[in-house]
Amino acid sequence: MTCPRCGNVVEPSHRFCEECGLNLRQTRTPVGGPLGAAAACRGCGGDSFGPDGFCEQCGHVRPSGRDRMMADLGLVAGLSDRGRRRSRNEDSMACGVAFGAAGQPGPASAVVAVVCDGVASTERADSASQVAADQAADILLEAAAQSDFDAEAATSEAVAAAFEAVTELKRADESPSCTYVSAVVTGTEVTVGWLGDSRAYWIGDALQSEQLTTDDTVVSLLIAAGISEEDALNDPGAHALARWVGADAEEREPHVRTCSPAGSGVIVLCSDGLWNYLPTLGSLDAAVRADPRPPSQRSPSDLVDALVALALESGGHDNVTVVAVPFPIGDGGTT
């Protein structure tokens, strides 16, 4: 077999291509996020920035590569946008494809996707969400390449690794934190794990769609405790997170759930920047089905483009991140 990147002949037992160094067991988004290209100044369109990172002409900050991050690995695609009202993108994502023992260019064994939303009230929330997503994706991809892969156990380990990475950012006066949602998708199963209010959805081609996560928010806890939705929403701290990833979090064990859909569809992970505009399952389902093709037959990059555009057109009040994985995963390598 040959390396999918450089064409060099590779041994199936090898982990890396000896010619170009490609990891044959996995392909993933770059650590630090799939940063966008440096763009022109948003204030004046110029391109001359001082060493302090501000436009020499109009003073606007140099656009960040985090403002719009795009990833398209064929079997999974993600898009993360700063939105229209926030000064930074504090959402992050990481995704990848694991190839099992045979390695690339064989069939993929699992697709991994992680979305984390930095808690805006802490400084360096963007770093927190990015290291959490990167660490978790690493653990999930490593585990998925093993023959005795246990997706639920790997999800717990991934969250523990995310906690460790975020805790390292803690300083005396601040404790950066973020939400967490991940999906491990194989040919037969979907395993999701979460802490916080970033969501995972199953959108079936023919089967009923479903929200796979329940928000870890005060309002959800109140409703679960039997308080009416109306009263719960009137609680002043209703939308506060009840659980998160950060040094100051009490509960660290994620919710984990596995399902085996009987038909095809697509898994959608997103931050609240999307679902605030599509709060119900029905509204999100309808937004995906606005395109006449069956959801699993659309390219995932086309699907995430459409959903992010919808959030931006609706006001783009928050950072918005969407990752999509068609189910079941195809045989596609990285083509």
Binding site: R42, G43, C44, G50, D52, F54, C55, Q57, C58, G59, H60, V61, R82, G83, R84, R85, R86, S87, R88, H317
Partner: protein, 428 residues
Amino acid sequence: MTGQFQLEVFQNEYLPEGAAEVNAIITVTATGSGAAKPAGPAAEVIIMDCSGSMEMPRTKLDEAKRATRAAIDALRDGVQFAVVNGMDIAEMIYPKRTRLVAANASTRAEAKRAVTAVRADGGTAIGEWLRLADQLFIGHSGSVKHAILLTDGRNEHETPEKLDRILKEVSGNFVCDCRGVGTDWEVGELRKVATRMLGSLDIVAEPAGLAADFRAMTAAAMGKDVADVRLRLWTPQGATIKYVKQVEPSLVDLTGRRVESAARSGDYPLASWGDESRDYHLCIEVKPAAVGDRMLAGRVSLLDGDDTVLGKAQVLAVWTDDTALSTRINPQVAHYTGQAELAEAIQEGLAARKSGDVETATAKLGRAVALATETGHEDTAKLLAKVVDIDDPVTGTVRLKRQVAKADEMTLDTRSTVTKRVRKPGGS
């Protein structure tokens, strides 16, 4: 001879949607100059008002002479100095020729003898005095250049236009601390001179206090060893600078003193520095950007006379729809905004009182009492109490006093621009 300069910025960079005004306090602290190292070159000119009125009463001239001799004694060896006789023209008292001489035991003694021999005669033309001092400083660039100006009367022997013209010509060339003796001088007029010359202003109601004050001013000037410091301010295209003010240790509006230095940059003169700390209030109006946008409203740098950068700071603007962020009040900005308002209330109140507008005077001075009470300006409150009877210091309910000593009124006016540093949270 460059000390360490530290710049700190105090501001709330978060603005609500559509807001354009950015306020920041820049604290500049210089350390490591002065005592530890040999002092840099310095030049001192003492301008003594010798107009005829200095003879009335005779003690005024005697005290002025005593003060000038004290200042001469405070000059350390090697300082280039001269003493100028201010009348309707300016003349040299010491040395005889129009130049500076190095201070040493014998020049100091000669200078003091020359001062003692001076007679008061003629009028008052402050512009002429400053012009002679300016001429004396020529050839001393790189030195800390300082003058002391003592006067007891109005600038009667030249037009205000001429004084303005001369101030424009000489300001920035040297620092001039101004002192008014007695109660026949004009506070507004001398304040203008002191402000333009980046110097302090005070009243010496009792001539007996002069010698100590002169000695302190000379000593302070000798303690400066970084000359010709400038604050350079870069602002983005489309921005307007509403003002740049020194707000500590006293209020000095520097806005009009800008000299364009590069594209979108201008320099404001800060004169000479020793080991000290001063605060500046910058108010910049920028073009509002979209919520979520972050921009630089100003780059501040401090330069010495050789264009060496001594320190840098940034003034930021971030637009947000989070009112919890945009409504946060920065204590430093609030404090100095309040002080500027206090000074304005006092000056406008006294002007109204002078012109017989009792209603405005009562309102403005009442407001000043309330502000002084609220902000803990005990010294100012005491001075106000000599001009108005205070019924309620909190609400500022006052009545104008019928009889006010001229010296009390002038002291209040003069010291209205003396500021007080904000107490840092948990600070020293």
